[in-house]
């Protein structure tokens, strides 16, 4: 994801709350400190499909918000 971000592709990482510290630390290590981490409740492993869907419903609005914010940032530059 860090590589994609560096190439200008919108990218985000789904990260469970127990792994947020690792996610934030790794974003810095890979040179993308603002890499969006879409926080969901831990765990993600060992879940039935209904619970996985519930996790996705938490992640999706965060992803949409990130995409909208990125577009809003890009628009003035594009117009200029």
């Amino acid at each position: 994801m860090a590589q994609l971000t560096k190439r200008g592709v919108l990218a985000a990482v789904v990260c469970s709350d127990s792994f947020m510290k690792l996610g934030k630390a790794q974003s810095k290590v890979f040179g993308v400190p603002d890499l969006p981490l879409l926080e969901i409740k831990h765990p993600l492993g060992g879940l039935d499909m209904e619970t996985v869907r519930a996790r996705a419903e938490v992640a999706l609005p965060q992803l949409l918000k990130f995409i909208k914010a990125s577009r809003a940032q890009k628009t003035p530059e594009t117009q200029a």
Partner: protein, 372 residues
């Protein structure tokens, strides 16, 4: 003042002042998170410089980078950790060698550092330098007491934490970890090995000194005081290997069997070559799929490994590793009717490196690496 001391004084953050008192140093290092929780030898510039007395590398050039931080493991930094761990200077080349092996891509150091699985580097040393520096290969080989085993393994672990940032909950996400994370460092008991030692089996000359690194759980004991035949001992070992909670049942990784010398002698006298041991255990260390929980059968076998198991009957034998030769077989320990099985992490392969001088020639004695 030594050249290193001068250099460190000119490097921001390289030196910290502390009371010259063991407890004060211990408190400071624990507070900084630069510890494994046990007391250490204070890494003063003078001690670090002495540690570097057996190093033929550029002292400030990274030998490897250690994830997850990808910190630069320069000889100076690694030497500071080796001092803290209690290493003698002549151990230092083996610490660097182990870190180089861990950095090989197939080992997957990033994954093994950050995983929830309780793995840690098991360091298996072969060859003359292991004997020269006093690495224990006999009684209590995986236990305490012997300085070289304790300090070399500990130095590597400290480097993984202090340089690589394998900090519990941040960079090391192990659910429970393992006591083997303090140190897990053995020499193979080559004198008691009825087969080829590991490094020779892997194609190195007997006079090479090597380390083989494996992302290992702690050892699981195999007690067998009763079997009188090779097949009897192998049956008991296969029974210990065949456990449903092992990563090795699902991934193409390489577990380790460390025969106790007495078990090895009985198996070899029964006519088994090492290759035959691996094949026999591959065939017999199996569990019928029905022994897994219904969710595991449905999700792990039927869905994730559908190509193999989508329609397989429930009594299908599940092997404990992917190919017979994936099992690493060594001989280690002293007298007694015990062997050790060491399961491993999933996405990893063992890596072996030989100790060499900067010009690429094999090191036969650690004294060859002494700085002039």
């Amino acid at each position: 003042m030594s050249a290193l001391t001068t250099q460190l004084k000119e490097t921001p953050g390289a030196l910290i002042e502390c009371d010259d008192d063991p407890e004060a140093v211990y408190e400071l290092l624990c507070a900084k998170g630069w510890s494994d929780g046990l007391p250490v030898i204070p890494p003063t510039p003078e001690r670090v410089e002495r540690m570097l007395g057996f190093c033929d590398r550029d002292l400030d050039q990274p030998v490897v980078r250690i994830p997850p931080r990808f910190g630069a493991a320069t000889p100076v930094r690694v030497a500071a950790n080796a001092v803290m761990a209690g290493c003698k200077p002549e151990y230092f080349p083996l610490v660097l060698l182990a870190l180089e092996a861990l950095a090989e891509e197939q080992y997957n150091l990033y994954g093994t550092q950050a995983t929830t699985h309780p793995c840690t580097p098991m360091l298996i040393f072969n060859g003359p330098v292991a004997r020269e520096v006093g690495l224990n290969s006999g009684h209590n080989v995986m236990g305490n007491y012997h300085r070289a085993n304790a300090a070399i393994g500990r130095a590597v672990r400290l480097a993984l934490v202090n340089i690589g940032a394998a900090i519990p909950g941040t960079g090391d996400m192990a659910t429970a970890g393992t006591p083997a994370k303090f140190t897990f460092c053995v020499a193979e008991n080559e004198a008691a090995n009825p087969w080829q030692p590991l490094h020779v089996e892997l194609g190195y000359p007997a006079e090479a000194s090597t380390v083989t690194v494996v992302a290992a759980e702690g050892p699981h004991n195999v007690n067998d005081h009763e079997s009188l035949s090779a097949e009897g001992i192998l049956t008991m070992i296969a029974g210990t290997m065949a456990t449903t909670g092992s990563n090795n049942a699902y991934y193409a990784s390489q577990p380790v069997l460390a025969f106790g010398p007495e078990h090895a002698a009985t198996v070899a006298s029964g006519g088994f070559s090492k290759a035959q041991v691996k094949q026999w255990l591959f065939d017999h260390a199996t569990i019928p799929m029905s022994r897994w929980s219904p969710d595991n059968i449905a999700r792990r076998f039927r869905r994730r490994q559908a190509e193999q198991y989508a329609n397989a009957p429930l009594d299908t034998p599940i092997h404990m590793w992917a190919k017979p030769d994936d099992l690493i077989v060594i001989v280690a320990g002293g007298a007694g009717k015990h062997s050790q099985y060491v399961p491993t992490f999933g996405v990893t392969r063992a890596a072996t490196r030989a100790l060499k001088r900067a010009d690429g020639t094999l090191v036969k004695s650690v004294q060859e690496l002494k700085r002039a």
